[in-house]
C-alpha cells in the first residue's frame, strides 16, 4: 500500500510540469494509467516514464496557442528547441570532461590556469541560463509575441559578437570542439532569425492576441 502511495506521489510531482488546465482535466486519469502500467511493488518513478512525461509537458507548453502559426514559425520554434538541446549536450560534455580539461590546461599552459578555470566555471554557470533562454524564446515566438523575435535577434547579435571575439582570441587553437559547438549553435540561431523575419511569418506576429483567438474560433 505504501509502495503505491510513494509511487503515486512521485508521479504527481512529475505531472506538476504540465499546464494547470491540462492537469485539472487529465491528471487523475493519467495517474490511473501510470499506476496500471507500473510493475508489481514498484516504488520509484520509472526513468522512461518520467522522460516521456517531461517530453510531453515540454511539447505541450511550447505548443503554439490557438491559431496555427505558419510553417516558418513552427520551424523556428523547433530550431530553438534544438538550440537548447545542443547547449544541454555541450554542458553535459563539459561537466563530464571537466577533470581532463583542467589537466590538459595545466600541462600545456600553466600560466593560463586561472583564466581557463574562470572561463570553464563561467560556462557552467551560464549554460543553464542559455538553455532556459532558448526554451523561453521558443515558447514566446510560438505564441507570436512580436517582442520575442526582437529579443531573440538581440541575443543573436550578442552571440555573433562573442563568437567573433572568441575567434579573434584564437579559440580555434585551444578548443576546436568548443568552437565547433558554438558555430553549430550560431547557425541554428541564424536560421531561426531568418525564419521568424521571413515574409511568411510576418502576419502571424502582427496579429493581436485577441484576433488570433477569434481566428481560431
Amino acid at each position: 500500500m505504501s509502495n503505491s502511495a510513494d509511487l503515486e506521489r512521485g508521479y504527481r510531482r512529475v505531472l506538476a510540469c504540465y499546464p494547470r488546465a491540462f492537469r485539472q482535466e487529465n491528471e487523475d486519469e493519467i495517474l490511473g494509467v501510470l499506476m496500471d502500467t507500473a510493475e508489481e511493488g514498484q516504488r520509484r518513478v520509472g526513468l522512461a516514464e518520467a522522460a516521456a512525461l517531461i517530453r510531453g509537458a515540454l511539447r505541450m507548453r511550447l505548443r503554439p496557442g490557438p491559431g496555427r502559426p505558419p510553417r516558418t514559425v513552427s520551424a523556428a520554434v523547433r530550431l530553438m528547441c534544438i538550440g537548447a538541446a545542443v547547449e544541454l549536450a555541450a554542458l553535459a560534455t563539459l561537466v563530464a570532461t571537466m577533470g581532463s580539461l583542467k589537466a590538459a590546461v595545466l600541462a600545456r599552459d600553466p600560466a593560463q590556469w586561472h583564466t581557463a578555470l574562470l572561463m570553464l566555471t563561467a560556462k557552467e554557470v551560464f549554460a543553464p541560463i542559455g538553455i532556459a533562454l532558448w526554451l523561453w524564446l521558443a515558447w514566446a515566438n510560438g505564441r507570436g509575441h512580436d517582442w520575442a523575435r526582437l529579443i531573440f535577434t538581440w541575443f543573436f547579435g550578442l552571440f555573433t559578437v562573442s563568437l567573433l571575439i572568441a575567434l579573434a582570441q584564437h579559440a580555434a587553437v585551444y578548443a576546436p570542439a568548443d568552437l565547433a559547438a558554438l558555430t553549430a549553435l550560431w547557425l541554428v540561431a541564424l536560421a531561426s532569425v531568418v525564419l521568424i523575419f521571413s515574409k511568411a511569418s510576418r502576419p502571424y506576429y502582427r496579429q493581436e492576441p485577441g484576433e488570433r483567438m477569434r481566428a481560431a474560433g
Partner: protein, 105 residues
Amino acid sequence: MQEATFLILTALADGSQHGYGIITEVKQISDGRVRLRAGTLYTALDRLRADGLVTVDREEIVDNRLRRYYRLTPAGAALLAAEAARMQANAHAAMARLNPLGAVT
C-alpha cells in the same frame, strides 16, 4: 504522421478504448515493438482531440478513478484510412523495386 499517432488511431479503429487499453492494444498491434508511455499517449491524445480526430466516448469511475473511453471521429477514421493507403502504396512500391521479377516475396 508519427508512428505513435498512427498506432493510437489504429488502436481506436475498431471501437472505443480507455488509456490503458490503448497502450496494450498498441503493444499488440506492433508485435511488442512499441511500448507507448503514458506521457506520450496523453500528449498525443490532447493534440488529436484538439484537431477533432479523436473524441471522448464516455466516462466511468473505476476504483475511485476517472476512466475515459476514446473513439475516432469520422475525420479521424478518414485520416487513418488515407495514411494507411499511403503507407501501403509506399510499401508496395518498395517491394516491387526490391523484387522486380516478383520471384521472391
